[in-house]
């Protein structure tokens, strides 16, 4: 299919400042349904290419949750011309990697390899989108493997805790269901459903191509024009939801998920963030970083350095386009669970009431600001940042302004954001561990005991 090129083209160039990570980025709209973001990089003879789709798992049929994920996972399972082995071999022969990522709001597919192999690689990727058949035989194996992987989570308490915490902290929101689906929904996938999903993504959903490497934009244009059918008129759907926060009220909830023979307790504390709570993503980063980012954060100091309660603790507060999540992750030995919970509770209360010094905050901001640069060393990481910023609707100049901007946040702003993100009374607490922990946990409020199998 011929492409309608160059509806508008925008070349952005950011002059160097003391950080020096700005690059010349070319943004081109080839049509209403297809844009391109290009980052020319001659340091290495390798390229990375991602195709962004403006829809994700939110579009899954309620009875077939995980379908979008399964569709992308099975793109390489077979086409009318090639079987799974031939497809894998064609990519792997060049050392090319194939990857995909599905979130609730968007999806992406990526390939990366040597620049000299760019054309055959893109040709194969486009062939998959044109001609994938989702063979029944491969789909059955995929489903068996997924079910086995879910079952095996019983022995990976950390992964199990992440999955269960995600579902419970997002309960009663549109984002509750896991992107990968559950055992009962996976069983309903068929080749026909996956093909329908592929056609939907091809014909209805807006796309953006991201490319980094020494290859020229013209080369991409030629190969996409000749080999792909991404540029379909009317494919301009962008997923958005109506007031995702409307019926959601937060309160503290504690869940114990018993697992057999656990000698450690996995602990997750956090909450869902509605649209009104994610308007200041940079301040969110500072607040969560101050609380639990790095080796000298408040929680790491209190939990590991002062008391030796855990090997690790981390905190994140992330913004997607229309919702966000805040989470603390750690673990401890069974006898220490009450002490750990108390340390977390006290730390959150102290921090949200501003019981910290300006100096401590300055140190934490310096850490965040300085370490930010490392995200821009690798072309593929740079590209991932651009894709994310485009998805959430932020300008690239904000990406570059981050290290300086965060230095201007004041102590009351940070305390207020910690309160907003991590107020103890509004947290969902999930403990995956021994049933014997119940007594200790009750000291922190009523505890619901839930079977882990419900979440698989």
């Amino acid at each position: 299919m011929k492409l309608l090129y160059t509806v508008c083209a925008l070349a952005l160039f950011f002059g160097s400042n003391s950080y020096g990570f700005e690059k010349k980025i070319t943004k081109v709209a080839w049509s209403d349904s297809l844009e391109v973001v290009f980052l020319e990089d001659h340091r290495f003879p390798t390229y990375a290419l991602s195709i962004y789709f403006a829809d994700g798992a939110l579009g899954d049929h309620r009875g077939r949750l995980g379908e979008t994920d399964a569709m992308f996972a099975n793109l390489t399972a077979g086409t009318n011309r090639y079987n799974q082995k031939q497809i894998s071999d064609a990519l792997e022969f060049y050392g090319t990697s194939f990857s995909y990522n599905v979130t609730h709001e968007y999806s992406s597919v990526g390939i990366a390899g040597l620049a000299k192999d760019f054309r055959p690689n893109v040709k194969m990727l486009c062939h998959l989108f044109k001609d994938a058949t989702f063979p029944k035989r491969e789909l059955l194996t995929y489903k068996r493997k997924l079910v086995s992987a879910f079952e095996s989570m019983a022995s990976n308490h950390s992964a199990l805790a992440n999955r269960i915490f995600r579902e419970l902290s997002l309960k009663n929101t549109l984002y509750q269901a896991p992107v990968s689906g559950k055992i009962k929904t996976i069983k309903r996938f068929t080749s026909k459903f996956l093909d329908k999903k592929l056609q939907y993504f091809k014909k209805k959903v807006k796309k953006r191509i991201y490319l980094v490497g020494p290859n020229k934009l013209d080369e991409l244009k030629r190969v996409v024009s000749e080999e792909c059918d991404f540029n379909i008129a009317g494919a301009s759907f962008v997923r958005s939801v109506k007031d995702s926060n409307a019926k959601f009220a937060k309160s503290r909830k504690i869940y114990l998920i018993p697992v057999p023979n656990a000698n450690q307790a996995q602990v997750r504390v956090g909450s869902y963030l509605g649209q009104s709570e994610i308007e200041e993503p940079d301040l969110m980063s500072v607040a969560s970083g101050f609380l639990g980012g790095g080796y000298t954060s408040k929680l790491m100091t209190e939990i590991r350095h002062k008391r030796g309660l855990s090997y690790s603790v981390s905190t994140v507060a992330t913004k997607q386009k229309q919702y966000g999540r805040a989470a603390i992750s750690t673990f401890t030995k069974n006898p220490s669970i009450a002490q750990l919970m108390k340390v977390i509770k006290d730390s959150l209360n102290e921090m949200s009431s501003g019981k910290f010094s300006r100096l401590e905050l300055r140190d934490s901001v310096n850490f965040l600001s300085g370490s930010y640069l490392f995200q821009f060393e690798k072309g593929s990481s740079y590209l991932a940042n651009l894709l994310y910023f485009d998805h959430i609707g932020r300008n690239y100049d904000e990406l570059y302004a981050f290290p300086e901007k965060i230095k201007r946040f004041k102590k009351p702003q940070v305390a207020e954001m910690i309160e907003k993100l991590f107020s103890w009374d509004k947290q969902t607490v999930v403990i995956v561990g021994s049933r014997n922990l119940l007594k200790d946990l009750r000291a922190f409020g009523s505890v619901q005991v839930v079977d882990y199998k419900k979440f698989l």
Partner: protein, 468 residues
């Protein structure tokens, strides 16, 4: 903080090359445009009078640098009763020294916008920092301080003991993969210095004293037992001068060489494994994880490089022989399956591993896999698979050397293991020269004769206490 061994070995054993002749702002690496296998990394090497080896590479792309310090000490040097000392010491190196006291090291790293970590293996202990350029003087000063004047302050010592005991559970007991790793090393390297875990035995961890760790530190942490690599936005002559100023006065160890001669005695590492056995271990995994392990090869031999290629040809990627045979199609038995060449400095193991799908009989799979190894060299190896593997290595090198951290690790690993950071050039030549017939020959030498040990972890295996 154990290193992911697979990453280490892939980095260390693959051929190597990178590039960037076209970027005037960086002179770290170059390659021949007509032959990407022809790689040259421009390195300034300095050896101080006290034996400290320093490698410096300039890359001015961003105002950042990475610093790696490799100490030639790992768990293989621990005697009975103090197992886990190398790893314990790794934790304690962050707990303060004379000039930069408790809590100061990490604070200084992070307030300057950097990050720091470390890992311990059976052979080495490695520390690294990724920092903005402005902190170069500070980092070098702090590294010199902790090498010369580590405090081992009692309070920090005890809190790290608790942390390590939790880390041990997290990495070994509570992880089927960790259980399997531990069981494999114990079985394959039984009776050798590699036959223990890196984190150590629980009773030893509970009772090891500050004095014992201090003696261990004084024995092994000397400038003539270390390699420091700095890659990034630095001026080599300035940093070389700074390193001389800060590290030049630290005394070398005079007993190290003789002691290591004894510890590295080949007799200690002689193969004492009891082959043709199965170790079926109870663990929480609802589907069995398994390994079929064979004697491998130590680092640095031509045969070890052939084994690298062999493992990738058999089990890397979805088009590989093992994946196609066992993890695809209607009769798939495994969720994943791989082959792996595990090289240490004095020994090695080659194994096939993976996880079975639910409903697959472990016994019958074990039989099938063992039978498979009798014909695998004939069925799985061909020219295309060999070329594919070489291409994959090429890409993985390009990818791994895109960061200062990647380059620093790569050079340091070569220098510390082989005494020459340029070893990658020799290895590259060998990789390119390896022909199919040689891979076939080595393949037969591994699999023929059935000298193997099968290990599994599963919640249907018999429960019995296992000594860790």
């Amino acid at each position: 903080m154990n290193l992911n061994m697979r990453s280490l070995l892939i980095f260390l054993l693959c051929g190597s090359f990178l590039l960037s002749c076209s970027t005037p702002q960086t002179k770290k690496v170059s390659y021949h445009s007509d032959d990407p296998w022809n790689l040259d990394i421009k390195v300034e090497k300095v050896v101080l009078k006290n034996g400290l080896t320093i490698l410096l590479v300039e890359n001015h792309t961003l105002p950042i640098f990475s610093l790696y310090t490799f100490f030639d000490v790992g768990s293989k040097y621990e005697r009975k009763g103090i197992t886990g000392s190398s790893h314990f010491l790794e934790h304690l190196m962050f707990k303060g020294a004379k000039k930069y006291g408790p809590g100061v090291f990490e604070k200084a790293i992070e307030t300057n916008g950097g990050s720091s970590n470390a890992y311990t293996t059976m052979d080495q202990t490695v520390y690294y920092e990724n920092m903005p350029t402005k902190a170069i003087d500070l980092i070098i000063d702090m590294e010199a301080d902790r090498l010369e004047n580590l405090l081992l302050e009692p309070k920090g010592f005890e809190s790290e003991r608790s942390v390590i005991l939790e880390e041990r559970k997290y990495r070994y007991e509570n992880s089927p993969g960790g259980q399997l790793l531990l069981a494999t090393t114990q079985a394959m390297f039984d009776g050798t210095p590699y036959g223990e875990s890196v984190i150590g035995r629980i009773p030893d961890l509970k009772k090891v004293s500050r004095d014992e760790i201090h003696t261990y530190f004084k024995t092994h942490y000397a400038p003539n037992n270390a390699v420091v690599v700095i890659v990034g936005d630095i001026m080599t002559h300035e940093v070389a001068h700074l390193m001389k100023t800060k590290f030049g006065g630290i005394a070398k160890s005079k007993t190290l060489e003789a002691m290591k001669r004894d510890l590295d005695d080949a007799f200690l590492y002689k193969d004492r494994a009891k082959y043709k056995k199965s170790h079926n271990i109870y663990g929480e995994s609802p589907n069995p994880v398994f390994r079929l392990a064979y004697r491998g090869e130590p680092l640095g031999t031509r045969r070890s490089l052939v084994l690298d290629l062999l493992s990738s040809m058999l089990g890397d990627g979805k088009s590989s022989y093992l994946h196609q045979k066992y993890a695809t199609g209607k009769k798939a038995m495994a969720g994943n399956i791989y082959a792996y060449n595990y090289n240490l400095q004095e020994a090695g193991s080659f194994f096939i591993g993976g996880q079975l799908l639910s409903g697959t009989s472990l016994k019958s799979f074990e039989r099938k896999l063992k039978k498979e190894t009798k014909t695998i060299c004939k069925k799985a190896l061909n020219e295309r698979a060999l070329q594919k593997t070489k291409n994959q290595y090429l890409v993985s090198y390009y990818n791994s050397l895109q960061t200062n951290d990647g380059v620093a690790w790569f050079l340091g690993a070569n220098e510390s293991v082989f005494g020459d950071y340029n070893t990658y050039k020799k290895e590259l030549k060998i990789y390119r020269s390896i022909q199919l017939a040689e891979v076939e020959e080595v393949c037969h030498s591994v699999f023929d004769g059935g000298k193997n040990i099968f290990l599994s972890v599963w919640n249907k295996n018999p429960k019995h206490r296992r000594k860790f």
